[in-house]
């Protein structure tokens, strides 16, 4: 496997994982689980940009920063934006 193929493989693994994490975030928002929201948004924020999704990282950072005090409606909006930025 060439080096570039290896990066593409990692990118594709990351994309699969990110899709799962966004689903987990949606669940956490529905369950008002602020700890899980905080944990997952921290993980996404710290990685998405490295794999070519800068907007997803930014949104995740925003969610993490406000996770403790955010309303569930606002959290849901951020997760939706994240999901849309990921698809694009």
């Amino acid at each position: 496997m060439s080096r570039d193929d290896e990066f593409e493989e990692l990118r594709s693994l990351f994309a699969e994982d990110l899709a799962e994490k966004i689903k987990e975030l949606q669940k956490a928002v529905a369950n008002s689980d602020h700890d899980v929201i905080c944990k997952i948004s921290h993980q996404i924020g710290g990685s998405a940009k490295s794999f070519g999704y800068p907007e997803v990282s930014e949104l995740a950072h925003e969610l993490e920063r406000s996770a403790r005090g955010i309303s569930l409606e606002d959290a849901a909006v951020l997760v939706k934006k994240m999901s849309e930025a990921f698809v694009l």
Binding site: R3, E6, F7, L10, L13, F14, D17, K39, H42, Q43, G45, G46, S47, A48, K49, S50, F51, S57, H61, R65
Partner: protein, 121 residues
């Protein structure tokens, strides 16, 4: 600087760091927890440890504290590699005794150079 230990419990993030550093010719080793770090340091002495902060069981600050207290390595520079990037976080890691701070998400283009820069400073 030749041997680098990458510590991150997220396998994909860890593999990205390993990939980028191997591409630059370094010998790269991996650990996903504090326990694995201690096991590794009992056998080997890396030049650099890239240590994530949010780890299961024991966070990176606690891992560093034990490394220093038990004198597990004198030579390794320990760099916090972390998505804790809010105001005051860097100071918190400096105070904990890290030799450097690299915020995540990492930039694949500059990652290896940033590590070199920290090690040369």
């Amino acid at each position: 600087m030749q041997d680098i230990l990458v510590v991150d419990d997220n396998a994909i993030n860890r593999q990205l760091a390993v990939y980028l550093l191997k591409k630059k010719g370094y010998n790269v080793f991996e650990a996903d927890s504090g326990r694995q770090v201690f096991e590794f340091l009992a056998e080997q002495s890396p030049d650099v440890i890239l240590l994530d902060i949010q780890l299961p069981e024991m966070d990176g600050i606690e891992v560093l504290r034990r490394i220093r207290e038990d004198g597990m390595t004198k030579k390794a520079k320990v760099i916090a590699l972390t998505a804790y990037t809010m105001r005051g976080d860097k100071e918190r890691f400096d105070a904990a005794g890290f030799d450097g701070y690299l915020p995540k998400p990492i930039d694949p283009k500059t990652f290896a150079d940033q590590i070199l820069e920290i090690c040369d400073s």
